[in-house]
């Protein structure tokens, strides 16, 4: 009886330890998006220059949809030049970069775009509808859409050159019929 007890207590603690080990090894930032492989939610915003910014008008292109904010430091500050550089490099190959600023002030957004000399379309999501539609929970978050308008990759944290190039090249390589 005594022998059994001596083993039972550590044994009872084992499943709890396993559960904790599993839980603590998961990154709380890595929440799988249920939107992956699904059609990207449509939206129509007004770009900072006043032009309409609708997802539907970029059908057939690989779309890099970036959610950002001017207060998101350092993530958004690191990726802004990367996005601009790659937008310039890939725009002729059927890739479009769209920026959506969330939870931000208009003046701060305009200053950010000017400071980084961003030339790809950027719009403010005033009501937060677009960010909730995409299940955004922080900035920066970037969605890579294939030519059929499906969400293929969700990247949380700043986009790097490698992430941009690898993902976009992979989506460009897919044939239109997929």
């Amino acid at each position: 009886m005594k022998r059994l007890w001596r083993w039972l207590i550590p044994l009872a603690a084992l499943p709890v330890l396993v559960l904790l080990a599993y839980g603590f090894r998961m990154s709380p930032r890595d929440i799988p998006s249920p939107l992956l492989q699904k059609p990207a939610p449509a939206f129509g915003l007004t770009a900072l220059d006043g032009a309409p910014l609708a997802l539907a008008s970029h059908r057939g292109k690989v779309v890099v949809l970036n959610f950002w904010a001017s207060w998101c430091y350092p993530g958004c500050y690191e990726e802004a030049p990367v996005l601009e550089k790659n937008w310039r490099a890939y725009r002729e190959r059927g890739v479009v970069v769209l920026g959506v600023a969330i939870q931000d002030k208009r003046e701060a957004i305009e200053k950010f775009v000017k400071d980084f000399g961003l030339t790809f379309p950027n719009a403010q999501d005033v009501t937060g509808t677009v960010s909730v539609d995409y299940g955004v929970y922080g900035v920066p978050e970037t969605f890579f859409l294939d030519r059929q308008g499906r969400i293929r990759v969700k990247h949380v944290s700043a986009v790097t050159d490698t992430v941009f190039r690898d993902t976009v090249e992979r989506l460009l390589a897919e044939t239109e019929t997929r």
Binding site: P34, Q103, T127, G128, T129, V132, Y137
Partner: protein, 154 residues
Amino acid sequence: MRRARVGLLVAALVAAVLSSAAAQPKPVSEDTVHEVAARLRCVVCQNLSVADSPSEMAGQMRAIIRERLAAGESPDEVQRYFVQRYGEWILLSPPRRGFNLLVWLLPLVFVIAGLVVVAVLVRQWTRRPRGAAEPVAVDAAMSERIRREVERGS
């Protein structure tokens, strides 16, 4: 001809009333908005519901809840919309099925196991130790002697 014209007018009026009724947003009680918001996790906070968070994002989410309810969606449909976008992660209490059942059942299992351990220990502690001296049998003479000694002592 006149009757036809009156008929047309009535039909037009009915259509107008119906369409305005359909277009008019349903009045939404703040209680319902709060009820749905309280079930959802504020996505930019730690351990706060959308109902309790003062953040801008939570405010926008409450506005979306209000808008969807006004458009005629039920509270469950609004919740489903958020789950479709964020996954079950958005729900403050995980649904009671599958792996999530662990979260609901484990505390109960632990409480029961604890009670069993306490019961076993209490039984062990209160049981007379083996090999303890048997109580001395008290016969009439003995009890008489005890009575006498107690009386003398007092």
